[in-house]
C-alpha cells in the first residue's frame, strides 16, 4: 500500500481484507459451506432413494428395466416421418427419433407462424380502424377462451369433412370465379392450380421437379442475395457519411427477382411440376400435408397467436407516448415510427413473455396424440405399451421436452441479452 490514500471517488471501493476461513460456527463462510453440504446430501439421498426404490419395486414385480429396448426392432407402424423408416428393420430408438423430429417440425414452424400472425393481430388491435380493432379483439378473446384440445378436435373434424380423394376439390376450380379468372388462366397452363388438391387424406401440392437449370436459377438468386446485402451495407455507410441514403429497393428487385428470372428465361423457361394423380386408394406424386399435421399446426398457431397478440399489444403500449410524439415531431410517418422507433423498444418488453409462449406451444404439441399426429409423446406411449417399460418411456418424454425447452430458453435469453438496452 502506498502512503497516499486512494480517493474512493476515483478508484474502486477497497477490497475486503482476505481472511482464512476458521472451522467455527461463528464464521459465516464456514456456516454456508456446511449448509450447502447438508442440502446437497439430502437432495442426493432423495434421488438415490427414488432410483433404488423404483428398481427394487420393478424387480419385485418382474418388470423388465433398462434402455436395451431402444436397440430392438420396433415393428410399430408410423404414419409420417421425415427420415426413412422401415418397421421390419428399424429400432425403437429410431422410431423415437422420428417422434422427436415430428415434434420439432410442428413446434418450429408453429412458432414462426404464430409469431407472424400474433404480431399482425397485436398491431391490429391498436389500429385506429374501428372494425379492425374490434375484429382482432374478438379473435383474441375467442382463441384464448376455448381449450386447445377442443380446437384441435374441431380442426381435425373439419378437415375430415373434406371430400374423399376421388371427389377431391381442385383449388383451381374453387378459384374459377370472375375474380380469379386471370389467375386460373395463367396457372392452369402450367397445371399448377389444377394440381393442388384438398381431400380428407390431406392437401396435395405439386412439387417442382428439380432440373439442372434450377441449380443455375438458385445460383443466380444466391448471387443476387449477396449483392443486395453488400449494397445495403454500402447504403448504410453512405447514409452515415452524407446523411443521404441511396435507394436499396431497385437494386434488390433487380438482383433478387429479375436476375433469376432472366437466367430462367435463358434456359428456355423450363417448369415441370410433379402433379398428384389418383391411383388406387389415394393420390400418388406431389407433396402432401396430412390432415393430422395440418390440424395440429393450425390449432397451435391460431391458439398461441391469440396470446402473442396480447403480448405484442402490451409491449407496444409499454413504449411511452412521448416516443410517438417525438418521432412525429421529427416528421416520421406512422408506419416508420412503428418500425423504427416503437417496435425495437417494445421488443425488450415482449421477449421474456414470448419465451413462455414458445415453451407453451412446444409442450402443447404433445396434444397431438388426441388427433393421431405421431409426435414424440405418441410414439413413446406406443413404445412403452409394446415393451412394457413405462418408467423408461416417461423418462424419454421428459428428457426430450426438457432438452427442447431448455434450448428455447437458452436461445431466447441470449437474444434478450443481445437486444437489451446498452447503457452508455
Amino acid at each position: 500500500m502506498s502512503a497516499t490514500a486512494a480517493d474512493p471517488r476515483v478508484t474502486a471501493a477497497r477490497k475486503a481484507p482476505k481472511r482464512r476461513m476458521r472451522v467455527s460456527w461463528s464464521d459465516p463462510r464456514f456456516r454456508a459451506l456446511v449448509w450447502q453440504f447438508i442440502i446437497l446430501g439430502i437432495v442426493g439421498g432423495i434421488v438415490w432413494y427414488l432410483v433404488f426404490n423404483t428398481n427394487k419395486n420393478l424387480a419385485a414385480r418382474h418388470i423388465a428395466t433398462g434402455f436395451a429396448f431402444l436397440h430392438r426392432v420396433a415393428g410399430i407402424p408410423i404414419g409420417e416421418s421425415m427420415i426413412s423408416y422401415e418397421p421390419s428393420v428399424d429400432t425403437y430408438g429410431r422410431a423415437l427419433w422420428i417422434g422427436v423430429l415430428n415434434t420439432l417440425k410442428v413446434a418450429g414452424i408453429g412458432m414462426v407462424l404464430a409469431t407472424i400472425l400474433g404480431t399482425l393481430i397485436g398491431i391490429g388491435r391498436l389500429s385506429g380502424n374501428w372494425l379492425m380493432a374490434k375484429l382482432t379483439g374478438f379473435y383474441v378473446e375467442v382463441m384464448r377462451d376455448i381449450p386447445l384440445l377442443l380446437q384441435l378436435l374441431f380442426w381435425y373434424t373439419a378437415l375430415q369433412g373434406l371430400p374423399a380423394p376421388r371427389q377431391a376439390w381442385r383449388v383451381a376450380e374453387l378459384m374459377d370465379g370472375a375474380t380469379f379468372h386471370l389467375f386460373h388462366e395463367t396457372f392452369a397452363n402450367w397445371q399448377f392450380g389444377s394440381g393442388m388438391l384438398l381431400s380428407n387424406r390431406g392437401s396435395r401440392i405439386p412439387i417442382l421437379n428439380w432440373e439442372p437449370a434450377d441449380n443455375w436459377i438458385l445460383a443466380a438468386f444466391v448471387v443476387g442475395a449477396i449483392g443486395t446485402f453488400l449494397w445495403n451495407g454500402h447504403a448504410n455507410r453512405r447514409q452515415e457519411a452524407t446523411g443521404i441514403r441511396p435507394k436499396v429497393w431497385p437494386v434488390a428487385f433487380g438482383l433478387l427477382l429479375v436476375l433469376p428470372l432472366a437466367v430462367w428465361a435463358g434456359f428456355g423457361a423450363p417448369l415441370n411440376f410433379e402433379i398428384p394423380t389418383l391411383r388406387g386408394f389415394n393420390f400418388q406424386g406431389g407433396g402432401t400435408i396430412s390432415p393430422e399435421y395440418f390440424a395440429l399446426l393450425l390449432g397451435l398457431v391460431l391458439y398461441t397467436a391469440g396470446y402473442i397478440a396480447e403480448i405484442v399489444r402490451s409491449g407496444i403500449q409499454a413504449v411511452a407516448q412521448g416516443q410517438w410524439e417525438a418521432a412525429g415531431a421529427l416528421g416520421l410517418r406512422r408506419g416508420a415510427i412503428l418500425r423504427h422507433i416503437v417496435l425495437p423498444q417494445a421488443l425488450r418488453v415482449v421477449i421474456p413473455p414470448m419465451t413462455s409462449q414458445y415453451l407453451n406451444l412446444t409442450k402443447n404439441s404433445s396434444l397431438a396424440v388426441a388427433i393421431g399426429y405421431q409426435d414424440v409423446v405418441s410414439i413413446a406411449n406406443t413404445t412403452l405399451n409394446q415393451t412394457g417399460q413405462a418408467v423408461e418411456g416417461i423418462a424419454v418424454i421428459m428428457a426430450v421436452f426438457l432438452t427442447i425447452s431448455l434450448s428455447i430458453s437458452l436461445f431466447m435469453n441470449w437474444y434478450n441479452a443481445h437486444i437489451a438496452l446498452v447503457g452508455r
Partner: protein, 351 residues
C-alpha cells in the same frame, strides 16, 4: 386448466403410477399366516371388492347399458371371478382402462385382474411382470371397409390408409402382414376409440382394423348403416384374448384359471344358471365335486368349496356367457365352443 383434456389426465395418471413405484413401498408383502395365501385375494376380501380392468367402450365385451350396468363378455368374466373370490358377483368394481394404460394399471395394483380383450403374447408375458390365466375369446385381426370402396379381400389393400389404435397387438399384426406380402400402407393411429372410429366413418381411412370380434360388434352397433360396412373374410393373425393377473401371486392365478375351468365343466355337464339347483342331489362325482358337495376343491384353492356354484349361479356356464353377450352381435361361436363341440375351450379335470 386450459388446454388439458382427457388425454392429459390419462398420461398424468400413468406418470403418477410410475411415481408410485418410485416413492411407494413394495406391495408384495408375504401373505399373512391367517390369510388365504394370496395377497391379491386378501386385499380384495378386506376391501370387499374385486377391482377389474375393462375397456368400457366395446359392445359385446364391456359397455354400460341404458341402466348404467356394465354388459359384455369381459364384464361377465369380471363377475365370474368376483363370485369365485368373494361369493357375490355384485362386489365387482369395473375400472375403465385404455389400450395404453391397462398394463400399468395392473402392475401398479390399481386393478386386481385385467379383462380387456388383451392378446396373449410372449412379449407381454416376458416383459410386463404379468401373466395370462385363461383365454376368454379366440380372436384374430380383421379389416372393416366401406362397401363403396369395392375392396373384397385384404390383398386388394396395397397402398391403403388404415385406422388402428396405437399400443395394440393389432398394429404389429398389420405391420407383419404387409411386410409378408410386400405391400405398403399408411397407418392413422389415434388412441381414443371413438375418435378412431369417427375417422374411419368420415373416410379418413380406407379400413378400420382391430380384433374381428370388435369389428363385428362395432358394425352391429351402427344399426341400419351396418349394411354399408363390409367385414373382410381375411383373418391375418392369431389373437387369443386373455385374462391377465400379476406374476408372483400364484393363488390368485389359480383362482382365475379354475373359475374358467368350472364354467367349461358346467357347460359340458349341461349345468346352467337356471337349473343348477336341480343338481343338488346329482350322483355324478364330477358334478358333486364341481358344486362343492364332496371333496375339498375350493379349500385347496383357499376358497369356499361352493366357489364354482357361486360362479355359475351368477353368470351361468361359458356357453351362456357367450349367448348373452356375443350371439346378439351376430358372431358365430366357431372355435370358441367347448372342445366337445369342436372348439378350443377345454378344462382340466376338477379332482
Amino acid at each position: 386448466m386450459v388446454g388439458f383434456g382427457r388425454w392429459s389426465a390419462k398420461t398424468v395418471a400413468l406418470a403418477g403410477m410410475v411415481a408410485a413405484w418410485a416413492v411407494g413401498g413394495s406391495a408384495l408383502t408375504p401373505a399373512r399366516a391367517d390369510g388365504t395365501g394370496s395377497a391379491t385375494l386378501d386385499a380384495a376380501i378386506k376391501r370387499g371388492l374385486v377391482q377389474c380392468g375393462v375397456s368400457g367402450q366395446v359392445p359385446g365385451f364391456s359397455l354400460p347399458d341404458s341402466q348404467g350396468v356394465m354388459r359384455g363378455l369381459d364384464a361377465d368374466t369380471c363377475r365370474a371371478i368376483t363370485a369365485a373370490a368373494l361369493g357375490d358377483a355384485n362386489k365387482v368394481k369395473f375400472v375403465p382402462t385404455t389400450a395404453q394404460n391397462r398394463f400399468t394399471a395392473l402392475q401398479s395394483g390399481e386393478i386386481d385382474v385385467l379383462s380387456r380383450s388383451t392378446t396373449w403374447t410372449l412379449g407381454r408375458e416376458g416383459n410386463l411382470g404379468l401373466e395370462f390365466a385363461w383365454v376368454n375369446y379366440y380372436d384374430g385381426t380383421g379389416f372393416l371397409v366401406k362397401k363403396s370402396s369395392g375392396v373384397k379381400a385384404a390383398k386388394d389393400m396395397d397402398g391403403a390408409t388404415i385406422c388402428v389404435q396405437p399400443g395394440t397387438s393389432t398394429e404389429l399384426a398389420i405391420q407383419d402382414y404387409y411386410r409378408l406380402h410386400n405391400m405398403k400402407f399408411t397407418p392413422i393411429l389415434i388412441q381414443e376409440l371413438s375418435e378412431i372410429q369417427a375417422a374411419f366413418l368420415s373416410g379418413r381411412c380406407d379400413a378400420y382394423s382391430t380384433d374381428a370380434s370388435a369389428l363385428a360388434t362395432f358394425r352391429f352397433s351402427q344399426g341400419p348403416k351396418a349394411a354399408d360396412l363390409v367385414l373382410l373374410p381375411d383373418i391375418i393373425s392369431k389373437e387369443p384374448l386373455g385374462v391377465m393377473v400379476r406374476k408372483g401371486d400364484d393363488k390368485w392365478f389359480d383362482l382365475v384359471r379354475w373359475t374358467f375351468a368350472a364354467m367349461i365343466i358346467a357347460e359340458e355337464k349341461g349345468i346352467t344358471q337356471a337349473n343348477i339347483d336341480t343338481f343338488a342331489d346329482s350322483k355324478d362325482p364330477d358334478i358333486r365335486r364341481l358344486l362343492g358337495l364332496e371333496g375339498d376343491m375350493g379349500k385347496a384353492l383357499g376358497l369356499d368349496n361352493r366357489f364354482a356354484y357361486n360362479v355359475i349361479k351368477a353368470v351361468g356356464n361359458l356357453g351362456e356367457m357367450w349367448d348373452r353377450n356375443i350371439t346378439p352381435m351376430g358372431v358365430p361361436r366357431g372355435i370358441n365352443n367347448i372342445w366337445t363341440h369342436g372348439g378350443l375351450q377345454y378344462a382340466p379335470p376338477m379332482r
